[in-house]
């Protein structure tokens, strides 16, 4: 135990008198002191988060800029990276493996490109989410801010990355004969729903990852499995027509497939509603609300424990 030779009163030359005999908690209560680093209520927490919105946005944009700042081509990589990605997938799945069964050629290329980009949005949000607390312990241990700022900021960074990818997406779609129309506006609600879903998932992963950093090693495999199961490069109903119907249903209603289908439906002329499962918007909304709410509450529950060594 501590071997205290003087109490705090020495500095001013007089020992404390009236407060003597009070224990720490009573003394704190008497002077209205609060426990340092205590978790705020859910609504107070949301208010704090809203107060930090400029920080969240600035942090996400800073991360995005910093990503390519040492490259000679600089920010051009924001567009070139997704373009190269799309080329690789087209080469392997479109030309070599021929997974475009049941999809006409002029639909398949935009189908693949939108699929890859939309899935990458979720994938990178999850990956960034896992590391958002564990990889920023220095920040968490130095400054006060609602910790949810970090996973939200990282999801926002991925959203901005996706908007760059959209340039490629639009170009590819137009080249293959689907021209901008009113239905393209549906991309906006679809991406908003996906963003909410991604953020919720990132919040869940952030809390899990802060406790178990090993998840960062495991997640690439989980995400790859999810990608192959979501029909990024093939049509789920066509590929699974010989299998029991429930398998296709499960795959089609998984959130990644839902959001991909919504964006494809909005942008590609040859990809009509016959390719979409029933109540697809309701499913998209349901997933977003579910993950958004659960993720936020789950993350908030451990707010005071982030930063523990």
């Amino acid at each position: 135990m501590s071997d205290t030779t003087h109490d705090g009163g020495v500095a001013l030359g007089t020992p404390p008198s009236a407060d003597e005999g009070l224990d720490a908690a009573q003394l704190a209560a008497k002077y209205g002191l609060t426990v340092s680093g205590a978790r705020p209520g859910l609504f107070a927490y949301m208010r704090q988060l809203w107060g930090r919105r400029h920080f969240i946005l600035a942090f996400s944009r800073a991360k995005l800029t910093a990503q390519y700042s040492q490259a000679k081509l600089g920010q051009l990589w924001q567009v070139v990276t997704p373009l190269l990605n799309a080329c690789v997938y087209y080469l392997i799945f479109g030309l070599i493996l021929g997974t475009r069964e049941g999809i006409p050629h002029d639909v398949f290329v935009p189908f693949l490109v939108t699929g890859v980009f939309v899935f990458t949005f979720t994938q990178s949000s999850v990956m960034a989410g896992v590391r958002s607390i564990a990889g920023n312990l220095g920040l968490v241990r130095a400054l006060h801010f609602p910790r949810a700022s970090l996973p939200i900021s990282f999801s926002l960074q991925q959203l901005q990355q996706l908007l760059f990818s959209m340039i490629v997406m639009v170009a590819v779609t137009v080249i293959f004969g689907s021209y901008p129309s009113l239905s393209w506006l549906l991309v906006i609600p679809a991406l908003i729903l996906q963003f909410v879903f991604n953020t919720g998932l990132a919040l869940v992963m952030a809390r899990l990852g802060s406790k178990t950093p090993d998840l960062a090693q495991l997640m690439p495999f989980v995400m790859r499995t999810w990608m192959y199961a979501s029909g990024v490069m093939f049509s789920i109903p066509v590929m699974l027509k010989d299998k029991p119907a429930w398998i296709a249903d499960v795959l089609q209603y998984n959130p990644a497939a839902i959001y991909m289908d919504l964006v494809r439906f909005a942008m590609i002329d040859g990809y009509g509603s016959e390719n979409l499962p029933d109540h697809v918007w309701a499913a998209g909304l349901g997933w977003a609300v579910l993950l958004g709410v659960v993720g936020f509450v789950y993350f908030w529950k451990a707010e005071e424990r982030y930063g523990r060594g």
Binding site: S2, A25, F55, A62
Partner: protein, 261 residues
């Protein structure tokens, strides 16, 4: 109580038997090999996983700080000074015990929020936002921060990425950003010794200003002179325990005797 108020002895920070434990992964008792890690997992029973090693950094520290006090934390490297500061700031959860504070204590420092790939300009904004300043506040103090850092004295460096700065320049900018905000309870961790002589004098002056505005100041430093100059009370930590708590001069004398300086 009325008498206390008259003397202005209002507690601002109360530490009550604070313990802090770090858990370190990958530093477990066994060898670092994969087989050792596997066998640890197999043997694992209830309670703490074996791969995790605990470091008991602060052991049962209790003290009360009052408004208007400047408190120096001294002790050898690894004695738990910085850890204790973080716990007071509420940034590091305590294992047991409580820290009660008046308002939100803040650490002086924004290093962790800055990004070396961004320009000094953007880092000023990012750092300010990270500390909780509003956009308007940052805009109005931007020039002040840049001027204080003296970054632009040798050309237009503020528009270059921070990775191109010399270590001294970067330290100056970091201090300038961090010192731009006023705090209730301010904690300074070895922040005095940055930059060249000219800048050090300027930063010491700024810290004195901050001290006046802040209710209570904590200072961690290995420079006994700066503790003597700024603090009227000192806490001596050793191996996570509070060895001594009293007037600066008395504690420093004992500390210097012990460390043979």
């Amino acid at each position: 109580m009325a008498e206390d108020k008259a003397q202005g002895r209002i507690p601002t920070v109360i530490a009550d038997d604070v313990h802090i434990v770090y858990r370190v992964n990958g530093a477990g008792g066994g060898r670092g090999s994969a087989t050792a890690a596997l066998s640890r997992m197999m043997r694992r029973g209830k309670g703490e996983p074996r791969g995790v090693r605990k470091v008991h950094a602060v052991r049962g520290v209790s003290f009360t700080a009052y408004r208007g006090e400047a408190i120096g934390l001294i002790g050898t490297n690894g004695s738990g000074k910085s850890t204790l500061l973080r716990a007071i700031a509420g940034l590091l959860p305590t294992e047991s015990g409580h820290v009660y504070t008046d308002g939100q204590p803040s650490l002086l420092g924004v290093n962790a929020a800055l990004m070396s790939d961004l320009t000094g300009e953007r880092n000023v904004v990012l750092g300010g936002l990270a500390m909780g300043m509003s956009q308007a506040e940052i805009r109005s103090r931007y020039q002040e921060i840049v001027d204080f850092s003296g970054i632009n004295e040798k050309g237009d460096f503020i528009t270059l990425p921070m990775r191109t700065y010399s270590s001294g320049m970067a330290a100056r900018l970091r201090f300038s950003i961090a010192a731009a905000k006023n705090h209730d309870v301010l904690m300074i961790d070895e922040a005095l010794a940055t930059g060249d002589r000219k800048f050090r004098i300027r930063s010491e002056e700024r810290i004195r200003e901050l001290r006046k505005e802040a209710g209570t100041v904590f200072l961690v430093s290995h420079n006994n002179k700066s503790i003597r100059d700024t603090c009227d009370r000192a806490l001596w930590l050793e191996k996570g325990e509070l060895l001594m708590d009293g007037p600066t001069e008395e504690v420093l004398k004992a500390y210097e005797r012990e460390t043979g300086k």
